[in-house]
Symmetry: C2
Subunit: 348 residues, 2 copies
DNA sequence: CTTCGGTGATCCCTTCCACCG
DNA sequence: GCGGTGGAAGGGATCACCGAA
């Protein structure tokens, strides 16, 4: 059961370096009053012995593990995945460790269980990468001693959050379409339980309203290309049955929805962008090479992850507890958007 | 520095339950000789106090943290990301924790540093999700006391590995094209330092050779759509200058390369699949809705992650040290493949 | 005043050993 | 001798002191 040989401890280093284990501890923790040459001797001994500080012992004493937990979506979503990576890198740069728990964010129980799992590990803080209502609810209900940050969600009263200004992203996307001359724009919104989806929808509606235009919004059930495709098929069917008109532009809440939508449009022999313009959101993998290359909104996900770690550290150390807002997204204009078709032309 | 209040320990539970802390420990560790009613009393007390076992103390004593480290690619690659998720879920199902370190796998130093980082945390084992030569070299050079598994790499002599049979995947993909009647097939291979890329190339070549056909292989610099696009542009240019012929089918080493290739073909007004068939690999997000929907190869990445954890556990406990091979991939036929065009037709 | 050694206490748990019916 | 329980001994590091060069 306990076959592992005993690794070198601080006392071993001490005797190897000919100093007391006190001094070794001082070297490890960068205490001031250590002579340079003794420090060298100690470091050298640590090197020779392959000493590695036992973090279990340290954590036991200090009541700090130096581990942050991250709850992330187990489904392969572009934004959250990149956020996760950036969180990890920011944490590691600060000498912290990141423990992962992946879940289906739609199930509050799973999120709660994941948080429990991380707390069992004694994490110093948790980031929940999810602007999903269920996940947020799970966070609110959890009574943890450690700080919890929700990444990508607008700040709540009691939760710490770092949010990207999704409304702003939606606004630039919508403005872009309006500037091209579009008046009849449809927004294929993401799944409503996602805060991001709602924020983008708000940004869309407000921009349309500000221009005195009537916004049309369609809500998707998830973020997948498949759902975008089905939404597109249904739209085409409704237009064919004259129950609806074909918008001149569509703003999809993410790239995959846009991809599925473009697929449905292509099936109906509609040309993007000449018949219909399409804008996505995320600048996900490959979107620059969709047919046609997708105009989309890129986010500073690295920045988001970095700020999560900063906030968590500040909260842990009691330095600060205010939420912060990351920078705004920016528009990437590619080939899926163009001025509107002649409105007189009847398609389908 | 140490502001956190002291959480309940087993002694607190013990006095609350009116037993010795010994008995509490027995309850926690499911020892046999505990009377049912005392066990109940203890569990009840734990519940009331909100007791959480201090894993640092446990780890200190047992020399086991119950944490596995995962080194994964920081770039947003489809396969590795899904593998990471499945590893985490398999680990959590077994009550283990997963600590993450993301790196650029092409830099051996980074992989080495990531492994060091995880070892600093006292992980019980490490999975390196990378069939990249540099990463594998880093693993070979690292002299760790804990087992290291390379996910997705063919088993080496000294490393543990769980591999997916990439050759088999490439073979079914190639066979599919040959069965459709193609004779002139080009393989757009992934970056050569990746074991997966080479394995797929081997599967391709062998299948071609077995059919008495001459294989053509083009090596990409990375797995991105951009590189696929550039490769496609170059291919088209060479064909236009009559320095090469246009293959009737292209087997790309992943979906993004295929996407970029299809983009380049579309630019050249070539129709997929009527002029050129295209097959991808991964069944990545959205590939079912590319234009046209991509025929591709799906892998059992969940199985891969699960086996990694199994292997790591076995290695940690000294049960087994043999490498295992996960199941074979399967072909998904969609709309990007068709019988070859009339060879007499001259395109471009 | 700086640099270092020494001691003792502590963190919380697991494991070995001993006890009692 | 066995089921149920308790006591003591670490495990490796941090921290607070005191003392001594």
């Amino acid at each position: 059961m306990n076959a592992r040989p005993r690794p070198p401890a601080i006392t071993d280093v001490a005797s190897a370096a000919g100093v007391s284990y006190q001094t070794v501890s001082r070297v490890i923790n960068d205490h001031p009053n250590v002579a340079t040459d003794t420090r060298e001797r100690v470091l050298d001994a640590m090197q020779r012995l392959g000493y590695r500080r036992n973090i279990a012992a340290r954590a036991l004493k200090t009541r700090r593990t130096g581990v942050f937990g991250v709850v992330a979506s187990g489904s392969h979503l572009f934004g959250p995945t990149r956020t996760l990576v950036s969180i990890e890198q920011a944490a590691r740069a600060k000498g912290l460790f990141v423990s992962l728990a992946t879940v289906d964010l739609q199930h509050k129980d799973e999120v709660t269980a994941a948080i429990e799992h991380l707390l069992d590990q004694g994490v110093d803080g948790i980031v929940v990468v999810a602007s999903h209502d269920e996940a947020a609810a799970a966070v609110l209900e959890s009574t943890t001693q450690v700080p919890v940050v929700v990444a990508g969600r607008a700040a709540g009263e009691h939760t710490l959050a770092v949010a990207i200004d999704q409304e702003a992203g939606a606004k630039v996307a919508t403005r872009h379409l309006l500037d091209l001359g579009h008046r009849d724009v449809l927004h294929l919104a993401g799944p409503a339980p996602w805060v991001d989806a709602r924020a983008r929808a708000v940004g869309f509606r407000e921009t349309m309203a500000a221009a005195g235009l009537a916004p049309r919004t369609l809500w998707a059930d998830d973020w997948s290309a498949e759902v975008g495709y089905l939404a597109g098929q249904e739209l085409v069917a409704r237009v064919r049955r004259r129950r609806s008109t074909l918008p001149t532009a569509i703003f999809a809440a993410n790239d995959l929805l846009a991809l599925g939508m473009m697929h449905a449009l292509a099936d109906a022999r509609l040309n993007v962008p000449h018949d219909v313009s399409v804008v996505g959101y995320d600048d996900g993998d490959g979107s620059a090479h969709f047919v046609p290359p997708l105009t989309t909104v890129a986010q500073e996900l690295e920045e988001l992850g970095y700020r999560c770690v900063e906030l968590l550290l500040a909260a842990r150390d009691g330095t600060a507890t205010s939420s912060s807002v990351a920078v705004s997204p920016r528009l990437l204009v590619r080939e899926s958007t163009a001025p509107p078709r002649d409105p007189a032309r009847v398609l389908l």
